[in-house]
């Protein structure tokens, strides 16, 4: 029983990490109907920002998360202003999509040049503190991951539901032209979307850094799962993304326990194919045509 409970905890931790990464992806897709392949590298850069803040500057880990959030946001603004926005103005969906791949490769190689290929040991002061209860355990770092995920989800919901900008974002994601006619500037909101999504990615990186292997390729190792989660949850659907993230996390931990880690990808991606075949709108269907 303790093992079952322990794997549930492990699954929720893993799922929370995936949700943190996937939320930014689904936000960008929801507003722009665009897949952002550079998201993984913003996650990685967020992890490195926090790492150097903690181990280079000597700052605390929690402030390091805030630093990664800000760095991610600034990067999102810069990349959108310099690359994506000009390409979108030229029209077509393919150019910005290809550009996200280009930005991703450029960032990955820049990080390889700056930080080198050797894995960094990102020691959060909470990684080695273990809380044990009833035959189960959780590190303080993992408890922090769950807490930050819950807080982030709550704040994002509140932002989208109760603030003018959040409502405007939802309006743009539902119908950009009509939103424009209502006096909303879609370009500014697209920029805001990139900034929020990238800030979330940066923060996710800071949370992931101490858990995963920190190299210039760290984000790439989670982004494939994050894409799968966005598809399983329903492109652009927050609720679906959260549900799918937790589901994938739990599938991973229980598959490891009962079938072996070698089966994880088979099961997760089989689920993805099944979802595409029988429910392409995702776990929670949203009332919008683009979601089909």
């Amino acid at each position: 029983m303790a093992v079952v409970l322990q794997q549930a905890i492990n699954g929720v931790v893993l799922g929370s990490l995936y949700v943190l990464v996937a939320l930014g992806l689904t936000l960008v897709y929801g507003v722009l109907v665009q897949i952002n392949f550079a998201h993984a590298d913003i996650v990685t850069l967020g992890a490195f920002s926090a790492y150097f803040f903690v181990h280079g500057v000597g700052g605390g880990y929690i402030p390091g998360i805030a630093v990664a959030f800000v760095v991610g946001g600034i990067l999102g603004w810069a990349v959108n202003a310099a690359v994506f926005a000009p390409l979108r103005e030229r029209g077509g969906e393919l150019l910005p999509l290809i550009a996200t791949i280009g930005v991703s490769i450029a960032m990955e190689n820049a990080m390889l040049a700056w930080f080198g290929p050797i894995p960094y040991a990102f020691d959060s002061p909470y990684s080695s503190e273990v809380i044990r209860f009833g035959g189960t355990f959780i590190t303080v770092q993992n408890a922090l991951i769950i807490s930050v995920s819950v807080l982030t989800i709550g704040l994002l919901y509140a932002f989208m539901k109760f603030t003018f900008l959040g409502k405007a974002l939802r309006a743009v994601s539902q119908d950009r032209e009509t939103a424009g006619l209502m006096g909303i500037n879609p370009n500014q909101l697209v920029m805001l979307t990139f900034v929020i999504a990238s800030a979330l990615a940066g923060m996710a990186g800071a949370m992931l850094g101490p858990v995963l292997v920190l190299t210039p390729f760290a984000g790439t190792s989670v982004i494939v799962k994050a894409f799968a989660i966005v598809i399983i949850g329903g492109f652009g659907n927050f609720d679906g993304t959260i549900l799918a993230g937790l589901l994938v996390g739990l599938i991973e931990s229980y598959t490891t326990q009962y079938l072996g880690p070698g089966m994880i990808d088979i099961i997760v991606f089989a689920l993805l194919l099944v979802m595409l075949a029988i429910r392409p709108t995702g776990l929670i269907a949203e009332k919008r045509e683009e979601n089909v």
Partner: protein
């Protein structure tokens, strides 16, 4: 007329000078041994390439000061990414464009296995120092040589020591699903069970797994474990060690199990893993406390050049270049004669240990296997097991 004569003289002089320069250039080119290096410079195994390069460049500095038998050495690096497809592409590029006399690499067995047929076809010797799969030298390939102990040599040795010296009777195997990972785990399993030990769980995983808490949870649930042989690259190795400690399985987390490893991890791993690495016993290919003058000189030169301590990766890359230079000293000057020189190597003494190839071109000297154990202060001590 005088003017025309001067112009003619100048032109003749220029032509003569050009001929001299050209012939010198050709002679200089003829006196160079071209070494291709297929190493992972990107991806999760890129720490191999980064460290190998330092060892190679140190060796080049030393042998190119005076040259060897009139030859200088140059190295062309290509990124083979620790993976078969990029390794094959890099090998083709190297063979087609650079036309090396000898190639060193790769570190990962899957990549090495992929490039071996290309080297054989091109009749260029491949000198390997970092891949452990038995398939590289069994049944044997006339163009591939390995100075590193293979998975059988390492696996049999460590399993025997685990059973006899550590009194281990139960084990859990953790390994990446690659030729090297699977092969190393299999050899340990076979040897350990033959001796009377029991393998409680056999857990393979992909290189894309990063969070090992679930695996550690599973390991914690299998019963009393004495040893956990682990075969992964450094990044995953760090996370496994930390997860096993957090789950209370290994000594670092208050448990009883001792993690065991073979030549996969560089020095410095302990400092990165922290106290989770306490009691970790692993094979390294190089013992920096070795008192031989050769090793002392290498350590001093390495520290002087890079202001850091050398790892076994630096050491085996350094040895590869010095061994090639040794074949040149013995008369080799092209791919065929370097191959023959490697095959004829007798008791070459490198910083990692001795080298002498058997009929499969495997270095059969066991003094390249060194053991080390992580101490509570995260330093380590050499275990004189071999």
């Amino acid at each position: 007329m005088v003017m025309r004569l001067r112009v003619c003289c100048l032109a003749a002089g220029a032509i003569a000078a050009a001929l001299v320069v050209t012939s010198t250039a050709v002679r200089a080119e003829d006196q160079i041994i071209k070494i291709g290096a297929l190493l992972p410079m990107s991806g999760p195994g890129s720490y191999f390439g980064a460290q190998d390069r330092q060892g190679i460049e140190l060796a080049l500095d030393e042998i190119n000061k005076t040259g060897v038998s009139g030859y200088k050495f140059e190295v062309k690096f290509e990124d083979s990414a620790c993976s078969p497809l990029p390794a094959t592409q890099a090998a083709k590029r190297l063979l087609d464009q650079y036309k090396p006399d000898v190639v060193i690499g790769e570190e990962c067995s899957d990549a090495t296995l992929a490039i071996m047929p290309l080297m054989e076809l091109a009749k260029v010797p491949l000198l390997n120092a970092g891949s452990s799969s038995i398939r590289i030298t069994e049944p044997g390939n006339p163009w591939t040589f390995r100075i590193m102990p293979n998975e059988v040599m390492q696996g049999v040795d460590i399993a025997t020591h685990a059973y006899k010296r550590l009194d281990a009777r139960t084990a859990v195997l953790l390994y990446e699903n690659t030729n090297a990972g699977i092969g190393n785990a299999r050899v340990f399993n076979d040897t350990f069970t033959k001796l009377g030990g029991k393998v409680l769980a056999d857990i393979g995983f992909g290189r894309d797994i990063n969070d090992f808490t679930s695996i550690a949870t599973r390991v914690a649930g299998v019963g009393k474990i004495d040893v956990i042989p682990t075969y992964t690259l450094e990044g995953q190795g760090l996370k496994i060690t930390q997860a096993l400690s957090q789950a209370g399985v290994t000594k670092g987390g208050g448990g009883q199990a001792i993690q065991l490893g073979t030549i996969w991890l560089p020095f410095g791993f302990e400092q990165k893993a922290g106290k989770a690495a306490l009691g970790y016993i692993r094979i390294v290919q190089f013992d920096p406390t070795d008192e031989r003058a050769l090793v002392r000189n290498f350590v001093v030169a390495f520290k002087a050049k890079y202001r850091q301590d050398p790892t076994h990766l630096h050491a085996h890359a350094y040895d590869q270049i010095i061994l090639i230079a040794d074949t040149v000293k013995r008369g080799a000057k092209d791919a065929q004669s370097i191959r023959d020189g490697l095959a004829a190597t007798k008791s070459f003494s490198g910083v990692t240990g001795s080298v002498e190839f058997d009929k499969t071109n495997q270095n059969d000297k066991m003094d390249t296997i060194h053991y080390m154990e992580t101490l509570p202060d995260l330093s380590w001590k050499a275990l004189k097991w071999n």
